[in-house]
Symmetry: C3
Subunit: 138 residues, 3 copies
Amino acid sequence: MTQSAHKLEISTRGQGLYECTSTIDEWVRRQKMQTGLLTVFCRHTSASLLIQENADPTVRHDIKAYFDHLAPEDGPYEHDSEGPDDMPAHLKTALTQVQLSIPLIHGSLVLGTWQGIYLFEHRVRPHRREIVLHLIGE
Amino acid sequence: MTQSAHKLEISTRGQGLYECTSTIDEWVRRQKMQTGLLTVFCRHTSASLLIQENADPTVRHDIKAYFDHLAPEDGPYEHDSEGPDDMPAHLKTALTQVQLSIPLIHGSLVLGTWQGIYLFEHRVRPHRREIVLHLIGE
Amino acid sequence: MTQSAHKLEISTRGQGLYECTSTIDEWVRRQKMQTGLLTVFCRHTSASLLIQENADPTVRHDIKAYFDHLAPEDGPYEHDSEGPDDMPAHLKTALTQVQLSIPLIHGSLVLGTWQGIYLFEHRVRPHRREIVLHLIGE
């Protein structure tokens, strides 16, 4: 049984879903394990992770619009010193996840056909986001 | 240290919470491990996983009704080609989880007394859902 | 490769976010591992876990207020036998998480600078909450 770890940097250009499935998948394949558990961890409180449909792009559009509606910029927030998009970013992060774990079986992640891994950026300005990958298995 | 993996199929008959605690627990016990980590992974984007109260059934009723209200069928969605329940299903999945990990200690999952593991089906029509179980430990 | 497990008890004094980062971090350091995966599991259905900003306390205030608004006490719930805060507590738990996994690299959890681990208590009365820690690695 062995472990591998890697830090992934993703540059975002404003709010939205950034797919990182193939980047993660390629790193996992290079570790040459057959069975294991991959953990994806986002080191931020205003960006998060989501597994969602990778086919029709209108799904991603609707997800972004929905969370903008659910955690609006004009809410009655006390925390407003970092801009109107900051507190909604914390709320959207709380409503989704900063960590995902995906089993690896027969050398492949067990993602379903329509599942893609996305970084969900909640801030308006460009950011450099750090994602940690950890794989344990053999 | 060893690993076990298993694919579970669950047939759903419309929206709602389907308990799978005992099925998962029985598989875990058959692996004869004392200490480890179980990961439950749902391979879909319109069904998800939830750990919730396993006692009073009105809790499950209220959870379903709440998510129907929070992500309604008549929202302003662009993605509507797969039926009015499809985009709400993606949103409900985003608001809950497709992955849960539960430690195993002294041969038992550490679920609390009132915690059950549920598949949360968000589509109206019957579906066959795939859940992957992965256990690492000894 | 080895494993460690520990049960943490946290006494809560009403609704809100209780930081437990340093308690968890100290236990992890005592296990003397360099690389691994920590899993934090909350054994309840009316309290949950959240990784959130550990700097400005108004963020925690706004998170609590937001979830109180999103899952209000006066909702149309069938389940009301355990008090008006009980069903909202189940919903807030469903909207957040009962499990978090965090990679350990070079002997430290890979939490970002602003990330703290919080127990999110959703009940009004004081409770004793059980959190299970599981660490696998070497």
